[in-house]
């Protein structure tokens, strides 16, 4: 068991490194597309500080200073969708392990699960440099859980330490991170009497509030983007997981504690396989 856990961790780490290398690669130095030139002019233009967003990371500038409300309303729409599904389909359920698909499919799905989760994290964290972002990472993470649901049956989810209640908690945690990062500039503004606006990321001439740069490098982290993307990933991924878990539950499933039942069910399934 120990060796297997170690192998899984090493596999995940190696995949993470490869994907990180792939995500952060650059085209040849100095190559800028015309649209990229426009945004570079308006994000960190030392010669024209009236226009810039003040962000040394252009991706952060575009995503957060130009499209911040877009992301915020996307999150809101998704929140309402999740609430609708929860209202209509919520039942407390005992998750029983059942047969699932054949062994070949189950084994390859376990490998693919690690691959998908790793790439979701990579897409989330390295979205400051390449393509990707919170919504993409979240839906990729959700697909990993859906694959487990389809191939290994819903009784396998408790073994991944995921049930509906925990998914709700993680989703709320993600939402709290986003709300905190959104509202911090306003609180700062009220407290100190200076100008600031919601979703502000970096300091400007007329609004001195700025998030500190994480990891020490301003251009790598771009201020508030990494916590916000991680929050968005948790929110979207866990939201989709809740939706799919609730949609696959049936009326016959009764109340109970999901976790212990999952373990017991596994033993039962093992006995059936032996017999």
């Amino acid at each position: 068991m120990k060796a297997r856990t170690l192998a899984e961790v090493l596999f995940t780490a190696a995949l993470f490194l490869v994907l990180a290398y792939a995500m952060t690669g650059y085209p040849e130095f100095g190559f800028v597309r015309p649209l990229g030139g426009f945004f570079l002019y308006h994000t960190f233009n030392e010669g024209n500080p009236g226009l810039w967003s003040g962000s040394p990371n252009a991706v952060t500038g575009i995503l957060w200073d130009y499209r911040g409300y877009d992301t915020l309303f996307e999150t809101m729409v998704f929140y309402i969708g999740t609430v609708a599904v929860v209202i209509f389909f919520e039942r407390r359920a005992r998750l029983r392990q059942t047969r699932g698909m054949s062994m070949i499919v189950s084994a390859s799905t376990r490998l693919i699960f690690i691959f998908i989760i790793t790439s979701a994290l990579t897409i989330t964290i390295f979205s400051v440099k390449g393509s990707g972002g919170g919504f993409q990472g979240g839906s990729i993470m959700a697909i990993a859980y859906v694959a487990i649901l389809v191939a290994l049956s819903k009784g396998f989810l408790p073994q991944l330490k995921i049930n509906v209640k925990r998914a709700h908690l993680l989703r709320t945690l993600g939402l709290t991170i986003i709300a905190a990062m959104t509202l911090t500039p306003i609180v700062f503004s009220i407290a100190t009497g200076t100008e600031a606006f919601a979703l502000q990321n970096q300091a400007k001439e007329w609004a001195p509030f700025g998030f500190p740069a994480f990891l020490g490098l301003r251009s790598l982290s771009g201020g508030s983007i990494i916590p916000i993307q991680i929050g968005e990933t948790l929110f979207v991924g866990m939201g989709f997981t809740i939706m799919f878990t609730l949609l696959t539950l049936k009326g016959g499933d009764e109340d109970g504690d999901g976790e212990e039942e999952g373990g017991g069910g596994e033993k039962k399934a093992g006995k059936e396989a032996e017999g």
């Binding site: 994907l19 290398y21 792939a22 995500m23 690669g25 440099k129 393509s131 049956s153 819903k154």
Partner: protein, 89 residues
């Protein structure tokens, strides 16, 4: 030189996509079409990787990973449906 080889490879893969697309549209049963769709999407993933090499932009490679992974999951759904069981059991 290497660019010409890459363009030729892309052309060959696109031709194989055309052949699989015929089976996708004509194929009499669902498993036929699903296999054709698997071939199409994996080949598209390869084409995407080749195009990323051709354009010398490594961050485009990640999309081809995603497409390949996705289609694995997509064919799982259909297989599960055809197997007859309830999804989630």
């Amino acid at each position: 030189m290497i660019d010409a080889i890459l363009v030729g490879l892309v052309a060959i893969f696109l031709a194989s996509i055309v052949i699989a697309a015929y089976r996708l549209i004509r194929g009499p049963t669902i498993p036929d079409r699903m296999l054709a769709l698997d071939i199409i999407s994996y080949t598209f993933a390869v084409v995407m990787a080749l195009v990323a090499v051709l354009l010398r932009s490594p961050f485009l490679i990640a999309i081809s990973f995603m497409l390949a992974l996705w289609f694995y999951v997509g064919s799982l759904y259909v297989a599960r449906y055809l197997e007859g069981g309830e999804i989630g059991d």
